[in-house]
Point group: C2
Chain length 459, copies 2
């Protein structure tokens, strides 16, 4: 009788050895992470691992960072190798040359793992073409557009987390917590699923098996409690920054302006950070929100009793769901983006420049940074709205002649909403559509490097 259930995380990891590659799922909240397997891997003290993961998490959390902090990882393939905040062991090791990093846009990461599991060694991708992330890779034109050749990723092990599992390895995935599980499992030689509950065959409805058992080699009951679920909603700060001694718009005012720009009947992705505030101004309008972790049709941010640990947006914020919502994995979420099904994407940014290029990832090299899913989200034919402060924390302009940070995308921004103005681009021509009360267009433009003009007065 086939029985993939093993007695403990240690037993599940019996053949994990030095030099192996391990893909670790999880996104946003703590629930979807295979925490027992991470702890057991740390205790096993295997070395020289290649780690494939979305991000490392913070020091002290039960996340992939555990294995980096313990010096077990020599190579990292991730969408985030860095996050704002105190320096981490990853920062130290990268700077010392002890941790090699390959930063991969989030949607490309899951697609490459999925390809590895689908017998597809390489595919052409529109994501990040023209940015520094692809230096040295083959670029090829199809139908007049440039694409980059992406190679499949195959790993020795995948650690995934599921709600329930059975002895054939069938997994029951829940809510928007599916995220990387199917793709990472497919690309692995040995898939170990950590589950909340082991159930009898047939308990998981055949219509709703999130990952068929053929992709899973071992099932183990979780032995370590996840980190505590984020206890309460983080209420946004809403103070206005001052420029020339006068207040600009608050973040909520910016968010409301963006909500007003969204058209009814559209599908919209709100990027992590400020853009998620826009969700508070949608109300009962006919706008469907998309999260790249794998959710369509989410509503407002929730806390307390309204939190379902399996339902969160791509920022990891617990959200309500609206009638007609659906869940899917990140592979399908990014199909929607690259395939052009999203009408509008709202992103935060460090800089936007004259030609409409955007820089929204974190650090000035491709080793230490957080690329996330932004490059993937803007690879479709969507309208791109950028929401950012008018000047940075060192009072430098964020609207530039040319971006100084590494690009997320070239000539793709349609509208910028700052705390001082709304600007719209056509080619390399920018028009100032609105400015904050008490400011003139000239005053606002003096605080940028951009060449722009006011909306022409009707004749």
């Amino acid at each position: 009788m086939r029985n993939k259930i093993v007695g403990s995380p240690e037993e599940a990891l019996a053949d994990l050895k030095d030099g192996d590659s391990v893909a670790v799922t999880g996104f946003g909240t703590s629930y979807g992470f295979p925490v027992s397997l991470l702890v057991a891997t740390k205790e096993k003290d295997v070395k020289n691992l290649t780690l494939v993961t979305n991000g490392l998490g913070a020091v002290g959390q039960l996340r992939s960072m555990l294995l980096v902090a313990s010096g077990q990882v020599s190579r990292l393939v991730a969408a985030f190798s860095w996050r704002p905040g105190p320096r981490t062991p990853a920062d130290e090791q990268i700077d010392a040359g002890d941790l090699e990093v390959e930063l991969v846009p989030q949607g490309v990461l899951v697609e490459r793992m999925r390809a590895g599991g689908a017998g597809i060694p390489a595919f052409y991708s529109p994501v990040g073409v023209g940015t520094s992330i692809h230096e040295g890779k083959e670029i090829r034109e199809f139908n007049g557009r440039q694409y980059v050749l992406e190679q499949a990723i195959n790993v020795d092990f995948a650690f995934v987390r599921a709600y329930r599992g059975d002895r054939l390895g069938n997994l029951d995935l829940r809510g928007s917590n599916r995220n990387f599980t199917p793709a990472f499992a497919k690309g692995a030689r040995v898939v170990i699923a950590e589950v909340d509950e082991i159930v009898d065959l047939g308990e998981i409805d055949p219509e709703n098996v999130g990952l068929p058992g053929i992709f899973v080699n071992r099932v183990v009951k979780a032995t370590v409690e996840p980190d505590s679920v984020r206890p309460a909603l983080r209420r946004p700060k809403d103070t206005a920054r001052e420029y020339n001694g006068k207040p600009g718009w608050t973040r909520l005012e910016m968010a409301r302006r963006i909500a007003e720009m969204l058209e009814d009947g559209t599908y919209v992705n709100l990027g992590v950070g400020m853009p998620t505030l826009v969700s508070n101004f949608i109300g009962d309008r006919d706008i469907i929100l998309h999260g790249e972790n794998g959710i369509l049709g989410y509503g407002e941010q929730v806390d307390g009793d309204r939190v379902d640990k399996n339902i969160f947006n791509a920022a990891g914020e617990y959200v309500s769901i609206l009638p007609g919502a659906s869940y899917f994995d990140s592979v399908e979420a990014f199909e929607m983006a690259r395939g052009g099904r999203l009408h509008t994407v709202v992103l935060g940014a460090y800089e936007v420049d004259q030609e409409g290029s955007i820089a929204n990832y974190s650090v000035t090299d491709v080793k230490k940074g957080g690329i996330g899913g932004a490059m993937d989200l803007i690879a479709g034919k969507q309208t791109l709205i950028v929401m950012m402060e008018h000047r940075d924390s060192k009072d430098r302009p964020k609207l530039r002649q040319q971006c100084t940070y590494p690009l997320t995308g070239k000539a793709c921004v349609d509208v910028v909403v700052t705390d001082l103005a709304v600007l719209r681009r056509s080619g390399a021509t920018w028009t100032v559509e609105q400015v904050a009360d008490g400011f003139t267009t000239e005053e606002v433009l003096e605080l940028t490097e951009l060449d722009a003009s006011p909306v022409p007065t009707p004749a």
Copy 2:
């Protein structure tokens, strides 16, 4: 209020015009076909269509053949352009040069449509490399293996069929009837879903939306009854063919021998035709059967009250399901195959030759034929068992020095079970492991072109 529901198939097709490309889903039984949309397209009398579909079905059925018979199709992209039986309008039009055909292996067909919807213009595939199907295409080596560059397919319209749908376009897909629906929808500009039932928002559980509404543009209630569901199980003929005046094994005896070869704990695909008979000899053994339409863990063939019109294998035979079964779409089904998750594939064949190459599709050119999913199924690292008669209907050997029909795969057959013998290959060396009662190894080999030797007697 977003409302994708339209009043009639005619209204749903209002903007379908001459020269458009249309992808039509459906596989096996009649239930999964968008019959109302096919009938309405026929009545609309648009011309010069490109039709993307698995196969045409028979004349007189409510299938894609309707549109070919009415002369509305000028180009066909399909896994089957031909089927055994009387000549069809497709045969006539192909011979007359009025119907251009691109035959595509079934798994590649769904993957190319999926790529079209995922923003991926092209990908490298292991399927059918070394066969005539890819003449003129780019071949490239990755990790020591050859792959062919496959281009995405995008179409103007997809016609899909679902059990239930709501006003946001969310579809409820059922059982092994998912098949081509997600992939074909993703690759289309306008997706029209024909549904049994239109339901209120929220009636479809967000955990079990088969295709999220973002991929669907119009939902219409079916107005035409599907063809009658196949009424009863076709019981196999089980007479033995005679060679040299003596009976060989019957088909059921061949099937039983193959069942005995299957190892416990494996995942097995049984090809359409004779191989499905093997399922009758598996009983309660620990063998999990895979169907490329999208089913894992099916059991015996069923009829009468046991038929669920949504549960069938890749041969279109209604089957039982076993505890721990799961359903998925054909994209995922072929990931399992190409990704190497199947241990054994059993195929019928026209010919197998000395180097272990197999020819199992129908006609001698790449215009009129039925390639099906065989090339895709053997692209993994599985054991390939061929089940076929020892000689063809014209009494020519089917075990050849070199295949005379177009190849399905090169040097990939591990075992052949005919109605006279069991032969096993290693490189270009074949060993006769067993012969039918009353036959000698020499006698069996004289009825082939193959060089083979008996199993050496232990010293």
